[in-house]
Amino acid sequence: MKKYWASYPYLLWMVIFIFLPLLLVLFYSVTVRTEEGVRFTLEHFQRFMEPIYLKVLYRSVKLAVICTVICLVFGYPMAMVLAGNHFKRKQVMVFLFVMPMWMNFLLRTYAWMTLLERTGLINAFLSWLGLPSLNLLYTEEAVVLGMVYNFLPFMVLPIYSVLSKIDKSLIEAAQDLGADDVTVFRKVTFPLSLPGVFSGITMVFMPAVTTFVISRLLGGGQFTLIGNLIEQQFLVVGDWNFGSAISMVMMLVILISIGVMSKYEKENEGSGLF
């Protein structure tokens, strides 16, 4: 079966629409257009080292880390509940958990706008209780909330799938040897679930650090993240060179985080890239 040629249209397609565009980003990030033509430079990366831009990078990473930690703290117990035998129709429960993810994430984010805004439901409820209304929308907390809401399933699902694959006899063996529930969790269940935890951390951290929509809609443009910065450079300022340089930095952050995490992620079938 020598049918390699069947994949040639695809390979050509990927070279044109994936490989070349990324080369262009690299090219723009290290060049500058002058009167004599285009010359090599690292000034865009140097410019990114200025405090205002580093602050944006710092804020992006900070919010993404906060979001990841919250997702882990609330997601791990949820994964345990889903993996345990608490529900008669486990598959249905898992399906119900996944379903909101299929709604467009813009709309999921927008849903929170309608809840958090000044005349929104939460403030209406507060005033019904006779409490003063709060400034909820367009805050850093709202951005984190939107991230957690959108990305929580990415934390729960990998942990859930690892937890439900754990050999029950290992847990029984630990119990037979006299371990109490806490010890079983600490010494057996949790270490065995670590691949899922690392996979979940990657899958939450990555979209959280690259988003520009959530921060724009729920942060109202006051909390510029690295994604917003890139968007601005390309679509508002028109400085492709600087925008490309920031994109390279973002890809670097992603590559590093995937690299670190995949080291711990065992038997992750399919991710041949790293």
């Binding site: 467009n104 899958m203 994109s247």
Partner: protein
Amino acid sequence: MIRLLKKSYAALIYLFLYAPILILLVFSFNASKARGNWTGFTLKWYLELFQDRQIMKALYHTMVIAVLSSAIATVIGTAAAIGIHNMKKLKKKIVMNITYIPVVNPDIVTGLSLMLLFIFTKFRLGFVSLLLSHITFNLPYVILSVLPKLRQLDKNLYEAALDLGATPFYAYRKVILPEIMPGVITGLLLAFTLSIDDFVISFFTTGSGVSTLSIIVYSMARRGINPKINALSTLLFVAVLLLLFIVNLRTSGTSHEHKKRSEQKW
């Protein structure tokens, strides 16, 4: 006791996940523009939605792009999967790594890099550039849906067909293709859903005058709350639910894995 605690914890998480969506759906029927209070049932936002020519045009674009991009990606991707399946180990590994680039790369980078390509080659940004971009990000998902089916395939089937006098092409059409069809259809539906769902890549690769629904939602939401979006959300949610139901009937069990991969993109 602990059982009850666990169940109520799960209930709280489900409430967190569903409450915003349900409120959005319910308030799409609210007469008043302010979301805080319910002032009566109305369908006027739906009416306004259907009378909004800009939104109807965007709906048309979204559907045409989704149909065309998923169909083209399915054809190219299925052929590619057959080719990749027959490759030797090293070559296969290289090609698979290329396939994973758009999956792993942040959407914003994929989007702006495509935009750079189009502008650099003086290609007009608009419907065609949007379509090409959608095909590009759909392709890996088609391949990833079809490849497992090819792996399950009995090699002898193809050889038996050849022994019985079929030409290679005829054997592929009559023997291999029917066998991998479930994977092909899953890939098609997945590509279709992803295309409808995409915002970031469309946002960067479209030109003036051509918008998709996601782009409209974003530009409307950026200006604040608009009840028309609620109505639109309700319709889109129902549509996605229907699609999801079909996909799930076909491949109960594998769809989580796909979604996991696809959502990773942004």
